[in-house]
């Protein structure tokens, strides 16, 4: 599996370089022109990658600082022992660590390595791309103080807590994670064997946090490149207009908008503005499904999930989120009509 990601990552990197190179040349004048689809592909790919990369960097920075400044005992002490309270706390943790769906993954992995309970960690993973001050503010800016904002926050928190609680039933939490992070859980020195433990003092500790963040950024970055490339490829092959053409009815409109959210792989900080274009031509429930499902599940985040969790864990997580969002959105379309 890692080989596939490595190949996709390399392809993406090659595309980045090629796009930059082509930008400096006027190939048409030289009698050589690539198909239009290639330019579409590279534009979409760059759009997704450039938008997401800073957020991944922020997430890995937060992860580095958590690794250095937050010990296992502190996590155990601060987080509720009760699974429900832990899941709710995890769902609201985004207000302390405001990270997008890319940044939350390395941070969650770090929390797991510090012994965070699965319910809390998964609730944090799913909720924090929406339940954080930046996304709340952008949704407010797009939709105002009204039902879309309230439903987005409420539904995201509810689904994150519910799915988190399901994973609390796993008798051996370590089995949810991939073997590599499990080894890392045993100690930071294994995670970063080439990094010497930090000497006492603030400066060396910050330096160590930054080194860890850098390592993690490059490690996760290739999966982000691979994810962005796949999303760009799918968007080039399956244009939005084809999806939107079939998007009517209380059920179908929800399915289409969920598919669109996966396909577009937009960061949750800006997706509210993107969704405004669909208001009026799509049902309110489907708009909400776009705003709730997209931050939890899209192509690039699923690829990043696969680096942290077992495939079965990712499958269960995505499936349950899909069902919850589908049910809630169809219910809203047929029974509430916001």
């Amino acid at each position: 599996m890692n080989k596939v990601f490595n190949i996709l990552g390399l392809l993406g990197l090659a595309l980045l370089l090629l796009a930059a190179f082509l930008g400096m040349q006027n190939w048409a004048v030289m009698g050589f022109a690539l198909p239009d689809q290639f330019y579409t592909l590279s534009t979409i790919f760059l759009g997704i990658f450039i938008e997401a990369a800073p957020f991944l960097l922020m997430g890995t920075l937060a992860s580095g600082f958590v690794e250095v400044f937050l010990d296992r005992d502190a996590i155990q002490r601060l987080m509720p022992k009760n699974a429900l309270l832990g899941a709710v706390a995890g769902g609201l943790l985004g207000f302390i660590f405001p990270v997008c769906e890319c940044g939350v993954i390395p941070l969650t992995r770090r929390f797991f390595s510090k012994g965070l309970a699965p319910a809390t960690g998964i609730a944090f993973l799913l909720a924090s791309p929406v339940i954080n001050p930046i996304v709340v503010a952008s949704t407010y800016a797009a939709y105002g103080w009204g039902p879309v904002l309230f439903w987005r926050i409420g539904l995201s928190l509810f689904i994150a807590v519910a799915v988190g609680l399901v994973f609390a039933l796993q008798a051996r939490p370590a089995q949810l994670l991939k073997p590599t992070p499990l080894i890392q859980i045993s100690g930071a020195s294994v995670d970063h064997p080439h990094i010497a433990p930090a000497a006492p003092g603030l400066g060396p500790r910050i330096q160590r946090a930054l080194v860890i963040a850098g390592d993690e950024f490059f490690e996760m970055g290739r999966y982000l490149i691979a994810g962005s490339l796949v999303a760009a490829l799918l968007q080039t092959v399956v244009p939005q207009t084809a999806l939107l053409a079939v998007g009517s009815g209380p059920l179908l409109s929800v399915l289409v908008m969920m598919a669109l959210a996966v396909l577009l792989s937009i960061c949750s900080t800006v997706d509210a503005f993107v969704s405004l274009a669909f208001v009026g031509s799509f049902t309110s429930g489907s708009i909400l499904s776009f705003l709730v499902f997209g931050p939890m599940v899209d192509i690039k985040s699923v690829m990043l999930y696969l680096q942290v969790f077992q495939r079965k864990t990712v499958l269960y997580m995505v499936w349950l989120v899909f069902l919850f969002v589908l049910l809630a959105s169809v219910f809203i379309n047929l029974n509430i009509g916001i």
């Binding site: 399901v166 039933l169 796993q170 008798a171 009517s248 209380p250 349950l320 169809v330 029974n335 009509g337």
Partner: protein, 452 residues
Amino acid sequence: MNRFGRLDIAVGALSLCLLAALGLVLWRGDQVGVSVLAVSPLDGPAAASAPVAITFGEAMDAASVESRFSLQPQTAGRFVWRDNTLYFLPGQAFAEGQTYTVRLASGASTHLGHVLAEELSWSFTTRSPGMAFMRSSDQGAELWTLTDLQSTPRQVTDMAGGVFDFAVSVDGQQILYSAFNQQAGIDLWLVGRQGEDNRMVLNCGLDRCYAPDWSADGRVAYSRAPGPLNPGEGYGAPRIWLLEPATGQSVRLHADTQKIGYGPSWSPDAGRLAYYDGVQNRIVVVDMLSGQEIYLPSRVGVVGSWMPDGDQMLYYDTKLADGLALYTIFRADFSTEDILPFFEPQPADGDYSMPTLSPSGEWVALRVRPADGGPADQVWVTPADGRFALTAAETEASLFSDLSWDPQSRFLLYHRMQLGVGNPVPEVWVWDRSTGTTRLLVRDASAPAWLP
């Protein structure tokens, strides 16, 4: 050893529950239906010319709504849609003092499959029209109204004499007026028919915004002349702008800033907008749906009067006859793109100008100045079919302007300035078509317009 752990069983069970719940929700079907955000006219007195409007919460399938719409007593009319609002424009004005009941049967649906769950029904009763006019003092002009033709005039603005002009909304509930500001620009203001809720809707700064006109679907077109670039310089050529009075949002009619014009006038169905292009000396008629433009050559500087269906316009232009430039009336048909003289046969002499069609489309009031009659005008009424069969409405030696018909096409309002007297006072008169009599409504008044 179990093949499935607690997590697998929980995920399976939860999935079944969620799928069953989804099935139940789908089986129960639509429980809320389409939301209706607003209707008008609301209970209480309504203008006889008011469109019936229903605003939905989402985009509707027009055919499914229109087929379920009914009005008692039955009234012919046409439907116009703007965004999520349906407007029913009555072909003839509603009868005064009559109660009408609007019904929209359940089942009207959206393109997305939502349906109107319950029948929508409400009633309104029509009122007699009043009048709005301007009254000047030493300070300048203010806006006044008569809530009906028997009432006492009432001042509705207090703008230190700065009111420039105004337009009454089609439903008679609001008056949009222009007024000078501190920078010698002209802003647009909105006031209720009783003088309530007076507020600025558009701060035009140095620019001069004037000559507003309301469409049946609640939009306003106005002229906007850019303010001087440097102190002491003149104003720029005016352009036509559109305004949403509810939000104050304003955009140019044409993206091309070289298209100039003033004096906009909406067709009764809001499908076309006409304005005068003073550079090319022509009336420009814009189809608001397709953007197509039709040009009517005219050197008189004003647009014409619309037929009720918006497919024809009566306008006037100068015509040379025996070395004299006389005003002649033309009929432009936008569907056939024909322009023909209005009268059949053509009158031999005299000025025939300012044609004003009645809302029923049956009558035309016009200003007539006999070729040998000196500077005085007369007001005449003729059938709209073009037969040269004039009925005198007003033959006093006066100057007449601002002719307008009431919604029932019975009363004709006009401004009169008597000639041959010292210090003439502007007056507003009304002519009753059914009795052929005239009556002075208000002295010291100008720019009369019906307040339906």
